[in-house]
Amino acid sequence: MCGIVGLLARKEDLRERLGEWVLPMLACMADRGTDSAGLAVFSDGIDAQARRISLYSPDRKYDWEALAKALREAVRTDVALRAVENHAALVTAAAPAAVAEWLEKRDPSLRVLSVGRSIEVYKDVGHPNETASRYGFARLKGTHAVAHTRMATESAVTPAHSHPYTAGEDFCLIHNGSLSNPHSLRRKLQKRGVRFETDNDTETACRFLEWRMREGATLEAALQEGLRMLDGFYTLLMATRDRLVLVRDAFACKPAVVAEHPAYVAVASEYRSLAHLPDVKSAKVFEPQPEEIYAWRV
């Protein structure tokens, strides 16, 4: 089980300090899950042709410089690198599929966490506060971010099993709850050529949406289908390049609170997580209705 948080900043000054506001939200939700944590942040500022690729290494002292250099030579394109310990973000105009293939061959221990024009994903095992401090969440800037703290239920505690899960470009999903039919759904999707990294139930939800969207559905339409196909208790929080999207199952037994304010929209598993946000007393605070799809634009 878990804690989820999300923050969408509507004003520029808040965007400059996004990480500062998200960090205490995440720290609060660390009480709900101490096994691992993950965060996805969306920000602009790279060329339209380029993509940002977030990478994870199990080695805290990984030689990212060497990797970036080798990649530049291999794809004959510029590769900008920013790295902290075992996390790196590569920005390049090279085709992401080619890059992913090259990475797989070069070093199969690396994981591609996300691909997109705006998204960057961090995740690791260990206490959320430790992860947040190591990766410098407090200094992040962007339009919106979602983050998750995990108490592992049925699957293992590994970085791969941590949320957020990503699919395609600029899409990620975090989940609080427990699906009751993830395995049969996973097998169904695997038959249709969808590749899974883990046996985690949240990944099943993510790949289901990925599959529907690949087939041409909008996220909303995919979620409508998801409400029928996914069984169990779940609050799903998703982010795309320009939106934050939230949905709860019909029973709505897993908590979720939303605060809507002119300057921001915030989501969390418990109100406690929102209590420190600026002027939250003026915000419209409510609990999302079951089976309703909420979407907020940047």
Binding site: A252, P255, E270, Y271, R272, L274, A275, F286, E287, P290
Partner: protein
């Protein structure tokens, strides 16, 4: 002789507050306790058993006033899940909105939610009276055994599912009724009951505008006609 005792949860622990409320009230002579900066913390003022007034100046987390006896607790803000769960007596008043499972399994006393209550309001209630100024969410009064739930606004889906002897009064619309719940005629006695509860809650409304929802009692015994509703 103490006047108002203040606890600032930005500086003190919820545990210290609860210890004080459990053990130090009579020694201190305090009749009023004010709690500052609750900021959504859980288990504030749980297990109180004294005729004290506790004012919570802000948002409360889960289980505010849990298992309350005698005390008068007021939340100047919203309350999280299961506010006043298992309340035995006394009053818990939420000036804002209450999250899910408000007054869950309450045995007695009065719970007033001036704003909206969320889903499962009054779940498993066992004698508590609940008055909601706004709406209640789905599955409210689920398996409600005894007590009265008065809803001045609207009720969500599956109201009163598997209700026993509790009675629900709703002024607004009802999205749908749950298993074995049915609409019944409001009698003079019902109107008097609603009037009394509204008065206690300090909420103005016309008792005659309410609808009575109670158990059809078709699930009280195992029977073939029940069609999988077990």
């Amino acid at each position: 002789m103490a006047g108002v005792v203040t606890f600032d949860l930005a500086k003190q622990a919820v545990r210290d507050l609860n210890q004080f409320l459990h053990h130090d009230l009579s020694r201190n002579g305090a009749m009023e306790v004010r709690v500052l900066n609750p900021n959504g913390r859980h288990s504030i003022a749980v297990g109180v058993d004294a005729p004290v007034q506790v004012e919570v100046m802000g948002e409360a987390g889960y289980y505010l006033g849990g298992m309350n006896k005698q005390a008068r607790i007021i939340v100047h803000g919203n309350a999280g899940w299961s506010v006043a769960e298992n309340i035995m007596s006394g009053t818990v008043r939420v000036k804002g909105c209450a999250s899910e499972c408000a007054a869950a399994s309450g045995h007695g006393g009065l719970v007033v939610i001036e704003g909206d209550a969320s889903s499962r309001c009054g779940i498993s209630m066992k004698g508590v009276d609940i008055v909601v100024g706004g709406d209640v969410g789905h599955m409210s009064a689920f398996m409600a055994q005894a007590g009265r739930l008065v809803v001045c606004g609207n009720a969500g889906a599956a109201l009163g599912d598997s209700v026993y002897e509790a009675v629900v009064y709703v002024r607004g619309s009802i999205h749908s009724l749950g298993a074995d719940a049915r609409r019944e005629e409001m009698t003079d006695k019902d109107c008097a009951t609603v009037a009394e509860l509204l008065k206690k809650a300090g909420i103005a409304a016309d008792p005659k505008a309410f609808k009575r929802i109670a158990s059809g009692k078709t699930l009280y015994h195992w029977n073939v006609e029940a069609n999988q509703e077990y």
